[in-house]
Symmetry: C2
Subunit: 232 residues, 2 copies
């Protein structure tokens, strides 16, 4: 099982992962060069094909890794925040932006323009990672809903079966999924505009903008409670 061959293979797989990440950070998603990765991993270009299914396979590796790390960062940020809906949404938003700023190439790789010719394998590594990514955000809402921190959700609406994606989540009211997607879209909208340089023309603080969005999300969907600083 752990013969010499397996050890070498494992170590080389790691080298390739590392070299690919380095190369991604240097060149961006669409310019990622297989030959350059091979050089970084001290292997011939053709030899790379024993470990990776061409360029698309390498990208799938990086995409899965990106979703996994991004989701983990978000999950940790939410858990470390006070167990209050508003605080958690703000923590989520800030963590979302921070990860995007710290990993711009990987952020662009997983949530930017899809690399054409690449379709994630239905049951493959990517699909699983995408769920690991999305679950902390949905769980935040499911938790808040269970703890009665959310404004009433239309339960009469049909429910959505998520067991296929996340067994422990089970079935969830469709309204909750809508809220989740809308909240995600709002945070994502600000972050991706900034990440791709479309807010560069203004001097306004993007962080302030993002926090305003988070507060707005929390007050829109959360139970009304007095906010100490400002009231409108």
């Amino acid at each position: 099982m752990t013969g010499r061959r397996d050890q070498l293979r494992a170590s080389l797989e790691q080298s390739i992962r590392d070299a690919a990440l380095v190369e991604l950070r240097r060149s961006g998603p669409s310019e990622l060069s297989l030959r350059e990765v091979a050089r970084g991993a001290n292997i011939s270009p053709s030899g790379l094909y024993r470990y990776v299914e061409g360029r698309d396979g390498l990208l799938e590796l990086l995409i899965a890794d990106g979703f996994r790390r991004f989701g983990q960062a978000i999950g940790e940020a939410i858990e470390q925040a006070e167990p209050v809906f508003l605080d958690r949404v703000i923590a989520l938003a800030i963590a979302y932006r921070q990860w995007a700023k710290e990993n711009p190439e990987q952020f662009a790789l997983i949530l930017g323009t899809p690399v054409v010719g690449f379709r994630p394998t239905p049951g493959g590594v990517t699909s699983k990672a995408v769920l690991q990514f999305g679950m902390p955000m949905l769980a935040l809402l499911v938790d808040a809903y269970a703890n009665d921190h959310l404004a009433p959700v239309d339960e009469a609406d049909n429910t959505i079966d998520l067991t296929e994606f996340s067994p422990e989540m089970g079935t969830v009211p469709a309204g909750l999924v809508d809220i989740s997607m809308r909240s995600w879209a709002r945070i994502h909208g600000v972050v991706i505009l900034e990440a791709f340089g479309h807010l560069a023309w203004t001097q306004r603080s993007v962080e302030d903008l993002l926090i305003a969005e988070a507060v707005s999300i929390a007050t829109s969907f959360g139970k009304q409670r007095p906010v100490p600083s400002k009231r409108r």
Copy 2:
């Protein structure tokens, strides 16, 4: 002025534009092939360089064209809507999504992952086109504000000088620019998530989601007025 040479040049320039658009629609932004465009325009690859400054120049052409057409589509949609804030925001959102769906490659080109190695020339074609793109959205808010359709905006806040970008707009309260960016981000967030396939896992209607966002934007920033269907 309009000698034979100028005619040929103008016609070939058009051919190149057309061929580039066709090629973009076929292959996507990062795979756009200069040689393929040359083939489509019945010219040699090297001959293309008499008309276009390499691949980046060709992309700048397409980016400028995309921003221009996108902005125009949005502007027309807003003008054709009833001169009511809510209606106009909904029209904006729907037009935004529709253009993205009808021009997916160009949408990805102008608002997706930036093509690395490409930086828009400061005073060049692109910068101008970006403004043509953004102005209808900002104008929508400036108009609504002037006509007293908006909730009070903090005027004590400093104002932002836009004469550099748009002479007729002049200086605008910073709060208005913030609202504009936040509104844009909310619509953009939904649309780009859908465009890049991240909402494919759900069966919920993205159009419903988007309209809900538009309504929420209008009620957040607009003057309160009774809404016939639902109240919360």
